[in-house]
């Protein structure tokens, strides 16, 4: 995994980007109207890859042509973005998506009017080229989530030196922060001494498990998801699961939105369905809090809102939730008309989650 491999990776991305420019050029030279086909990113265009167990993008595409003002602008922006990436690769720099949005102020007619336009165009380019935005030297501005547990990470720092970090011993209470690029040129896992990893939705619960020393108690890697997990977080989970055979469980609130967090970790998200193969961990299991937990542990609850019920009903239609387990969970939740937070377990004391709840649940799964 030397410099050369790196170079190749960027070179490849660059080449496929330049193909777009070449395509426009040739279309113009032939007297045609420049255009490009982009796979359609929508709910109607995702399909299950049965072999891999992830939801991927389907075959339908959208044509973007210079025939009208809006899309001709997008084509021009594509070229400007391409040139920016060219420059960044040449100069060994990277930029955040937000920075790119600001850089576009100098792009004349190709300027973006909102950041979601530039974010979305970056995703389009990934789609068309098959490369990742990291290959384009673009990264999200939010930092990655945190890890605590007995694994050792080798990370290449800014200076190009390799740092070896044990995620239990060499870090503070907030753990090891996952960088935006977690590919093998940047991050590798050398020593993995955990039995499983537990991905936790909320910061409060993550900190509770850290304080209670659950990582050592259960010999587990604690991963903070920070709500809907960032790509890098999902990628780390996927790599640890695949490369190091670490079983994955997901621990969230008991509400319809948390169910979707699980789905994006396990099966893939709609917006990034083209990356599912690379981001989703189909072996991940849901540990809780389940709707049945609400009853069996008699947890403090809130009533479902109208939106909650709607979300649950949509989930009943969502192909990703079409399993016996989820059907029952969703229907039970609709039945009892209640939801609960992870921290509701504190009703029985601060240690209850680590002393009783998780050991019981993980025990059932054979992980403790």
């Amino acid at each position: 995994m030397g410099d050369k491999e790196n170079k190749d990776r960027y070179e490849e991305a660059l080449e496929s980007l330049e193909n777009i420019a070449e395509q426009f050029y040739e279309q113009l030279d032939d007297g045609e109207v420049p255009s490009m086909d982009i796979p359609t990113r929508s709910k109607t265009n995702i399909e299950l890859d049965r072999r891999k167990g992830v939801w991927k993008l389907g075959d339908s595409t959208t044509n973007r042509s210079a025939n009208n003002l809006k899309s001709s602008r997008m084509l021009l922006r594509t070229l400007y973005m391409l040139e920016l990436i060219q420059d960044m690769i040449e100069e060994g720099k990277s930029s955040t998506l937000r920075e790119m949005y600001y850089i576009s102020e100098g792009w004349d007619k190709a300027q973006f009017s909102k950041q979601n336009q530039s974010d979305s165009l970056a995703e389009d380019m990934e789609l068309v080229t098959g490369a990742l935005r990291e290959d384009f030297k673009l990264r999200p501005e939010e930092d990655g989530a945190r890890l605590i547990g007995d694994i050792t990470v080798e990370e290449v720092n800014r200076k190009g030196d390799v740092r070896t970090i044990n995620c239990r011993d060499d870090v503070g209470d907030s753990g090891y922060t996952i960088p935006y690029n977690v590919e093998s040129d940047k991050v590798n896992f050398s020593d993995v001494n955990v039995d499983f990893m537990i991905a936790i939705e909320t910061g409060g619960m993550f900190d509770r498990l850290v304080e209670n020393g659950f990582d050592e108690q259960a010999n587990a890697l604690l991963v903070h998801l920070k709500g809907q997990p960032a790509r890098a977080t999902r990628r780390v989970i996927k790599r640890l699961s695949e490369e190091k055979d670490v079983p994955v469980v997901v621990f969230t609130d008991a509400d319809p939105w948390s169910f979707r967090i699980f789905a994006s970790v396990a099966y893939g998200a709609i917006n990034t369905a083209y990356l599912s193969e690379y981001l989703a961990t189909p072996t991940a299991e849901y540990v809780g809090i389940t709707a049945s937990d609400i009853m069996s542990y008699d947890l403090p609850t809130d009533k479902l809102s109208k939106n909650d019920r709607k979300a649950l009903e949509q989930e009943l239609e969502d192909p990703r939730f079409d399993t016996d387990f989820w059907k029952e969970e969703i229907e039970t939740m609709l039945d009892i008309d209640k939801k609960a937070e992870q921290q509701a377990l504190a009703k029985y004391g601060l240690d209850y989650v680590t002393d009783t709840y998780l050991p019981e649940k993980l025990g059932e799964m054979g992980l403790m």
Partner: protein, 635 residues
């Protein structure tokens, strides 16, 4: 006219014309002070226009109104017509119903008033003043001037003083001055509105209005005189009982058979016999011996017997291009964005009377956006200002669901609203008025149907135009694509792959797909410059013709960067081999006392480009051909 005339004739023995006038003020158009003034002007102007056309003179009419006392006005109307011979002047101005035409039936304005003598009488009754008339019939002659009043008991003229005067600067013409009680208003029912509307349907006339020194001139927009309407015999099917009685009484023919054959249109001897047989009257009967019952039988027989429809080629419509010119002449200050090609329907017949409908529609620009569309109604080129609600024109408009033509209309019923002006002209040898006041057209199904069809034709053009406007906006947006974005795409993509930027013309024309016309005009001191750019944004090389209609006959072409292939009332250029993405520019300069709003893009026409591909100009209207052949004949 016939029925008022009969009434008058019947009653003449019993009551004086003065009394008759008093009782029938509402019919004669003198029932309110405002209306009296309009009627005064109208009787004079209608006569002037009729007389000029008859003598084939391009009319030049002056109307002067001066306030001379409390609700008292001096009205003068002057024309450049043939004038009236001296001995006839007293009769025309001083004898009620002198000029009414009985046997002759034609599309004339005169149908619509009682005659100018009624004005003389009105003035005399309300102010006690006589009417001063001046007439000149020959350039080398003196003019005659006399003051006239009317003996209301005997219906005879009285000439007060007579003079011979030199009328300098006038070859021939008429002028009369009368003083009347009245009220001069602005707005819908005003003299101004009447003159303005008269100017619209008489684009060959120059009309000057001087209101207490405040002058308005409606310029002549064409020097094409209207075709003379042909006088025809009445058709037996459309005639009123009274008229038949009158004709029979005065007939020159000695037998009913020859009376029918010779004094009515489309009756042969055999048809005449058939009618007599059906009516069970001896064809040899002297027509003057017929009784009222016989007249009725003859009319009933006419219904039974199959008669040929009356001739319809005796009418003289205004016709498309001239309607547009007239409308534009008066509306140009509102900068309307669109003149629908006016429709002239084929002549049709209602109960034995030929009639013909014309419709025009103007849309957008600075026309009033709020409220119902404005309707201009005309019968035989005379504006109808009153009784709009009870008019066939209104019925026809309300019959249409205007929403399908992109005009607003609440619930698809009633008057449409929006920035539009609708013109409706009904020409007929006998316009079917609702009443003898002749202010509105009756709801005759055939007439309504024709109006409706004319309206729909214009409305369809409007819809097409509005769709094209939408397209124009889209195309405008595409200008940014082809002018800014596409070149940038070309430059950037070439830069990235290290090539020279590619040629863009073919791609660019594929994106646009239209022939785009843009014009700009500037005005200074009666001179007008216009720049017309024609851009071929289609992938094909094209030939076409450009036409530009001059606003006035006296408009003079000062210069043109490209020599026109024809110059007359319009200019014409042949454009050959206009390559894809090529632009050709025509810079033309006009002189001839032009005003700021005289020239605009609505006068540009293009022949040879499909309507859907043509943006920014209209295709050549169909009736243009008529003018072309006319010109060739003159040459």
């Amino acid at each position: 006219m016939a029925s008022i005339a009969e009434k008058l004739a019947d009653k003449q023995q019993e009551i004086s014309v003065g009394e008759f006038f008093e009782r029938n003020k509402h019919i004669l158009g003198f029932d309110s002070l405002t209306k009296a003034l309009v009627t005064t002007v109208k009787e004079g102007v209608d006569n002037s226009l009729d007389a000029c056309e008859e003598a084939e003179i391009l009319p030049e009419i002056k109307v002067e109104i001066e306030e001379v006392g409390d609700r008292e006005y001096k009205v003068a109307i002057e024309d450049n017509g043939p004038g009236i011979v001296k001995r006839k002047v007293p009769e025309v101005f001083g004898k009620l119903l002198y000029g009414s035409r009985f046997h002759e039936i034609s599309q004339s304005r005169g149908q619509q008033g009682i005659g100018v003598s009624a004005v003389v009488m009105y003035g005399q009754l309300t102010t006690g003043k006589p009417t001063k008339v001046r007439s000149k019939i020959n350039e080398k002659d003196y003019a005659n001037e006399m003051k006239i009043t009317l003996d209301t008991k005997k219906n005879e003229p009285e000439v007060l003083n007579e003079e011979v005067v030199l009328w300098e600067g006038k070859e021939h013409g008429m002028r009369f001055e009368t003083t009347v009680k009245g009220l001069l208003r602005r707005g819908k029912h005003s003299v101004f509105e009447y003159l303005k509307n008269t100017a619209i349907v008489n684009p060959h006339a120059k009309i000057e209005f001087d209101r207490d020194g405040d002058k308005t001139v409606f310029k002549r927009a064409t020097d094409q005189l209207p075709e003379k309407p042909e006088a025809v015999m009445p058709h037996l099917k459309g005639i009123e009982l009274g008229t038949l009685a009158k004709m029979a009484k005065n007939a020159d023919r000695r037998t009913l058979k020859s009376f029918l054959k010779n004094e009515f249109s489309r009756i042969s001897y055999s048809k005449a016999e058939e009618i007599c047989e059906e009516a069970d009257i001896d064809p040899k009967t002297n027509p003057s011996d017929l009784e009222v019952e016989d007249h009725k039988d003859i009319l009933n027989a006419a219904e039974e017997v199959k008669l040929m429809s009356p001739k319809t080629d005796c009418l003289s419509p205004i016709k498309g291009m001239l309607i547009k010119k007239g409308l534009k002449n008066v509306l140009k200050g509102n900068h309307p964005e669109y003149y629908a090609p006016p429709t002239t329907r084929d002549p049709n017949v209602y109960s034995g009377n030929p009639f013909q409908v014309e419709v025009g529609l103007v849309y957008g620009g600075e026309l009033e956006k709020e409220g119902p569309v404005k309707v201009l109604r005309f019968a035989n080129r005379v504006p109808l200002l009153y009784k709009k609600g009870g008019c066939a024109t209104t019925t026809a408009i309300k019959n249409i669901d205007w929403r399908i033509y992109d005009l607003d209309q609440k619930g698809g019923k009633g008057m449409p609203s929006g920035p539009a002006v609708i013109l409706i002209h009904v020409a007929s040898t006998r316009v079917p008025f609702t009443s003898e006041a002749k202010e509105a057209i009756a709801d005759i199904p055939e007439v309504i149907d024709e109006i409706e069809k004319g309206l729909r034709e214009c409305a369809r053009s409007l819809r097409t135009h509005l769709n094209k406007e939408k397209k124009r906006k889209k195309v405008k947006k595409k200008f940014t694509v082809v002018n800014d974005i596409l070149p940038m795409i070309a430059k950037k993509s070439a830069e990235i792959i290290g090539e020279e930027p590619p040629e863009l013309d073919r791609s660019l024309t594929k994106i646009m797909g239209v022939v785009y016309i843009e014009e700009e005009s500037s005005w200074e001191d009666g001179r007008c410059k216009m720049e017309i750019e024609i851009m071929n944004y289609t992938p094909k090389e094209r030939d076409m013709e450009l036409f530009f209609e001059k606003p006035y006959p006296e408009t003079e072409l000062l210069s043109s960067n490209v020599e026109p292939d024809h110059e007359g009332d319009h200019l014409e250029w042949k454009i050959e081999d206009l390559e894809p993405s090529e632009t050709r520019t025509f810079s033309i300069e006009f002189d001839g006392d032009l005003e700021k709003d005289d020239l605009d893009g609505t006068d540009i026409y293009i022949e040879g480009v499909g309507e859907t591909k043509l943006i920014g100009a209209e295709p050549l209207p169909e009736d243009w051909d008529i003018e072309l052949t006319d010109i060739e004949e003159e040459d």
